[in-house]
């Protein structure tokens, strides 16, 4: 019984945290939109104070029937209080509000569903302004749009709180200095800016999916938040473009394999339990993939989404690997990266066999990349066990995490056993 109770309590505090995380981004976006992006830190403070008050009040009296309405009402009071107390209202806010009855404006901090959505979208575009570096954009997006705490962001980046705080502070300074506005870019600008927005969402997702943090809940949260931001873009005609849909499809397909990947060590694709793949997410992915084929543009998201789609089909048919190889060939021509080059060579092995793939693999010369030597080892296995082992040893030396080293050591042991 005691155990059950503990479980329920943990569960409820977890959902409270989820509520705060969700509401943080909404409230900060709306407040920043109302008073201007230069007051974003005030918005963050007001919202944090509101959560603190909620935690204490709700602990004493229980959670109110409509917690979000409670949060919005308290936040409104705090904003009013803040601006009166600090005279910022008279000196800074007043001249900036162009016309009308100002008191009413302030009291009209509008937390309607519609205004929340508009404000969040505008915030997304504001953060993706070209004036700040992409690393800072991701940090800001995690904080302001996804409501992650500084601790969590530091953990995701394998960094510390001070570094992250400094980075966010500088990024916000930049927003102020460059007078970035909370508004959607103009017609001509929006397509170009959308590329940055999509890229940031892609990086957010990758940060979660390939993150070196061992915290699996955090990894999953990051991915789901990236997916949520992507879906937000589909609600507006100007941002709901084929490449947006392609990116969402890509994220759905990858996210569908989340449960199968999660265990103490990262489960390699070939060993994943297909039963654990999330069929709903795969179907969502197919839905968005179909939407993405409209129009002429073939973005790297299109190619990656189709690769991910094929990977969601377990059966290793010739057709599957042939398709994947062709998609990687094209992806490399748009967007070279060592990882894509290695994946392409793996697909080549599946289509043409080890000998052909080896010739091409030897040309890649990615001498600092442990995945490169793991691939070479895989290709040499059965052809030349001695070389396979040497490559594994190189991979072992280059591998960065203990989990990876452990996995490589197991392969070395296996070869040693066979040769013994």
């Amino acid at each position: 019984m005691g155990w059950m109770l503990l479980f329920i309590m943990e569960k409820s505090s977890e959902s409270l945290q989820q509520l705060f995380q969700q509401e943080f981004s909404k409230m900060v976006a709306v407040i920043s939109k109302t008073f201007g992006l230069q007051h974003i830190e005030i918005a963050e403070d007001v919202v944090s104070e509101t959560f603190l008050q909620a935690t204490e009040a709700w602990k004493a009296k229980g959670i109110p029937p409509n917690p979000t309405a409670w949060l919005y009402a308290v936040a409104k009071q705090k904003i009013l209080h803040h601006f009166r107390r600090n005279k910022i209202y008279d000196e800074k806010v007043l001249p900036e509000i162009i016309s009308g009855n100002v008191m009413e404006e302030i009291e009209e901090v509008n937390f309607s569903v519609e205004n929340i959505k508009d404000s969040q979208l505008q915030m997304l575009f504001a953060i993706c302004t070209p004036v700040i570096a992409s690393e800072a954009q991701i940090g800001l997006a995690l904080r302001i749009l996804c409501g992650f705490g500084i601790d969590e962001i530091a953990e995701a980046f394998l960094s510390n709180k001070e570094t992250i705080n400094k980075r966010l502070f500088r990024a916000k300074e930049k927003l102020r200095a460059e007078k970035v506005l909370m508004e959607l870019p103009s017609e001509n600008e929006i397509t170009k800016r959308l590329d940055t927005v999509l890229h940031i969402i892609y990086l957010l997702f990758s940060e979660g999916y390939y993150s070196q943090t061992q915290n699996q809940n955090l990894q999953k949260d990051l991915c789901l938040e990236a997916l949520r931001l992507g879906l937000m873009l589909t609600e507006y005609e100007k941002t709901n473009l084929p490449k947006t849909n392609a990116l969402i499809a890509l994220m759905c397909f990858h996210a569908s394999r989340f449960s199968a990947r999660q265990s103490n060590t990262i489960v390699l694709y070939g060993q994943q339990d297909q039963e654990l793949w999330d069929a709903t997410l795969i179907n969502q992915g197919i839905y968005f993939l179909n939407l993405s084929v409209q129009g002429e543009e073939l973005s790297s998201y299109h190619l990656e989404a189709r690769i991910a789609y094929w990977h969601c089909r377990k059966e290793g048919t010739q057709e599957k690997w042939e398709e994947i190889l062709q998609l990687y060939n094209r992806l490399l021509q748009i967007n070279y990266s060592p990882a894509v080059a290695l994946n392409r060579t793996y697909a080549l092995y599946k289509v043409k066999g080890k000998e052909t793939a080896l010739v091409e693999a030897e040309k890649l010369k990615l001498e600092n990349n442990h995945f490169y030597f793991m691939l070479l080892a895989e290709l040499y296995t059965d052809l030349d066990q001695q070389k396979a082992r040497l490559h594994l040893e190189r991979a072992y030396d280059l591998a960065k995490t203990r989990t990876e080293k452990q996995g490589i050591q197991e392969k070395i042991n296996l070869i040693n056993q066979l040769n013994a």
Partner: protein, 112 residues
Amino acid sequence: MKDFALLFRQADYNYSKISPEEMEEINKRWQNWIGGIAAQGKLAVGGSRLAADGTVLKAGGVVTDGPFVEIREILGGFILVKADNLEEATTLAHGCPALDGNGSVEIRPLFV
């Protein structure tokens, strides 16, 4: 690293009589070859295929139709690659599907 143009010449680029399956097979061969160069991070520009028909303008305003019978091998397309020297660029050209059709690849450094 310098840029080099790889120019593909073949006796015949007329694919109008072959089946879609054969065409797909030819495309795959080209894509696999270019993909192999791109995987080494040595593709500078994806380049283009040139259509088989066209015209030639000569001095004196003489315009003739393609195909260009005067030259034994028709220029069929090009890509730009990155390489340290001509020798390396030539190595990259190995395996080009134009060679299968008894054609040739011309490797020419680009002036910066």
